[in-house]
Amino acid sequence: MPFITQLKRLRLPTALRHGKEGVSRGDGPYTVHFITPEGEKIDVKATEGDTMLDLAQRYDIELECACEGSLACSTCHVICEQEYYDKMEEPTDEENDMLDLAFGLTDTSRLGCQITMNKDLDGLTVKMPSATRNMRVDGSKPTHH
């Protein structure tokens, strides 16, 4: 069927493939702990300068990135621990503008595409907020609508 074969040849943007060029899974001196919306903990290695988006792409973690890290959406929203949040550079106005639109914003929220790894952030935990409100999946009772 021509449909599939032709589609497979569609060009995907480089940014979407594996995150940063030339870095493989397991590379790097640092550790980052991701907590998925379902509560699963995923520990990954990170190199200097990796963003959370780079890591998510390298390790197939389902952190969304609708605008591909161009500060035009809030889909890569993550929640950090206070201790680590304080070690990061202040978010820019542009990042805050997008965070304002994030679902479940907290005082230690950041955009994953704007957190850049360095020595100080080694051991960082980032929690991906549970964005969907469908409580039926985990068995609790619906409370709205």
Binding site: F3, C67, H77, F103
Partner: protein, 486 residues
């Protein structure tokens, strides 16, 4: 997403064949729902129906031309389309006599309605149908290449003043389009005919009008900042009202970070050079409800708009506008109403006219209190026409998870409603397509159309030059392409 444990338990109702899901509408709600359903349910076939030959809904036809980074999400949609369980059927209108919804019901197990909000709310004042009074939706559609509004041809060179009713991001998008330097717009994917009209535009003053006060403005920080940065454009507003509302609402603002930050952007402008000089201007007008649109001497064109002045009543978080009985008029030659979009009903599904939504619980369509087997909704049709792409993404994922949970729980789908056990999806529609001369456009066809758009854009330094007419989109595809597209 569902846990892998949950996925091991399969629906008892549908076994040994894929679950056939139809998605109606190819905007962000449709694509994000499809993406999540593909992840949640391994043995699924999704057919996405779109009445235009081209996909992506408001990402293509709504997002402002000078916001290309927002459109990066189309790469995500392309990725969804590469899944071999997914089929795009563009140029296929569902709900008409050629392809009634009933035809879909008998060929699919589940249908997701994500066709958005195609109408706009009207002011309902005298003079609304005069020339050069448009809905924001049609104006945005015009500059973004929506075929329906290709021929709008607004007159931008007979007046220097435009009025936009409404204070959301669509209103600011339009204000920005009207006041941006034309050379900035030339580098965007704004359509050539709109660029031509905008390059001849004499509009220098744009009023963005709301019936309540600053705290009720619906636009967001990014768009407001962009508006403040337009070169040579003076900002003006009722500074006294702004200051008193911010002071009175201090407690409320402390509870709402986004609103507090938004107000601080406005506050920072007070007394700044931005409010003192500039040949062009944009004005945030508050406390005004349009009461009448006044024609010029020919009785055809708009000459002015009359407002009733309001005062504010009630606490900061729920201010109401109360008419004062005083009226003012504003001369203008172009009026755009931007007070919200509205979904329209499709025959065969429940619809709540007053809220303009399909009644639902977590995306499952409701008929009164009862869930309707196999029917789901996502996006603006589900929750009303508000929010950014991230909002629609979350909302679409909720719908997809509901569908998947129903599947795992063995809840009835359409197959159990009509007793047609063997569903085949679009395979079962081929004869109907043939009989009614429906020519579906595949995603590969779309990529061919898009390739031509890229190439046409490249020649003139634009990211793409959109085809503004359906026939031009279809003309890209040879008869041969169309034959193999299914």
């Amino acid at each position: 997403m569902l846990s892998s444990n949950a996925m091991r338990a399969f629906s008892t109702a549908i076994r040994g064949r894929p679950l056939h899901v139809a998605v109606i509408g190819s905007g962000p709600a449709g694509f994000y729902t499809a993406h999540r359903v593909l992840k949640d349910i391994p043995d699924v076939k999704i057919d996405m129906f779109e009445s235009l030959p081209v996909p992506h809904g408001l990402v293509r036809f709504g997002v402002a031309p000078d916001h290309p980074e927002v459109k990066n999400v189309m790469n995500k949609f392309d990725e969804v389309a590469t899944d071999d369980r997914f089929t795009f059927l563009g140029n296929v209108h569902v709900g008409g006599k050629d392809l009634p919804l009933s035809a879909l019901k008998s060929n699919y197990d589940a249908i997701v309605f994500s066709y958005g909000a195609s109408e706009d709310r009207r002011l309902i004042v005298p003079g609304e149908d005069l020339q050069n009074v448009y809905s924001a939706r049609s104006f945005v559609g015009w500059y973004n290449g929506l075929p329906n509004h290709r021929e709008l041809m607004p007159d931008l060179d007979s007046t220097d003043t435009a009025v936009i009713i409404g204070q959301g991001n669509v209103a600011l998008d339009i204000a920005r389009m009207l006041l941006s330097p034309i050379d900035v717009l030339r580098k965007t994917d704004v359509t050539d005919y709109a660029l031509e009209a905008l390059s001849k535009s004499r509009i220098k003053h744009v009023h963005v009008v709301g019936r309540r006060g600053p705290l009720q403005a619906a636009f967001t920080a990014k768009e407001l900042r962009e508006q403040m940065k337009l070169p040579g454009v003076r900002f003006s507003t009722d500074v006294q009202l702004l200051q008193s509302e911010i002071a009175n609402g201090a407690e409320y603002l402390n509870k709402s970070r986004p609103l507090k930050r938004l107000m601080s952007i406005l506050e920072k402008e007070i007394g700044s050079p931005n409010m003192l000089s500039g040949d062009k201007s944009w004005t945030l007008d508050f406390l005004r409800s349009p009461s009448r649109i006044i024609p010029d001497s020919t009785n055809n064109n708009v000459a002015a708009i009359e407002y009733e002045l309001n005062r504010l009543d009630g606490p900061a978080e729920s201010r109401r506008a109360i008419g004062t009985g005083q009226f003012v008029t504003q001369d203008c030659g172009l009026i755009l109403r931007s007070i919200g979009y509205k979904s329209i009903a499709m025959e065969g599904i429940p619809f709540d006219e007053s809220s303009g939504r399909v009644p639902n619980k977590y995306g499952k369509v409701l008929d009164g209190e009862n869930e309707v087997p196999g029917l789901y909704t996502a996006g603006w049709l589900k929750r009303g026409p508000t929010g950014v792409i991230a909002t629609t993404m979350n909302d679409a994922y909720e719908t997809a998870d509901t569908l998947a949970a129903d599947f795992v729980a063995g809840k009835p789908f359409l197959n159990e409603v009509d007793g047609v056990g063997q569903k085949t999806g679009s395979q079962g529609l081929l004869q109907l397509f043939k009989d009614n001369k429906i020519r579906p456009i595949s995603y590969v066809d779309w990529k061919l159309i898009e390739k031509m758009e890229f190439e046409a854009g490249q020649k003139i330094g634009k990211p793409r030059e959109k085809f503004g007419r359906v026939e031009d989109m279809l003309a890209v595809l040879s008869t041969e392409d169309l034959k193999t597209s299914m």
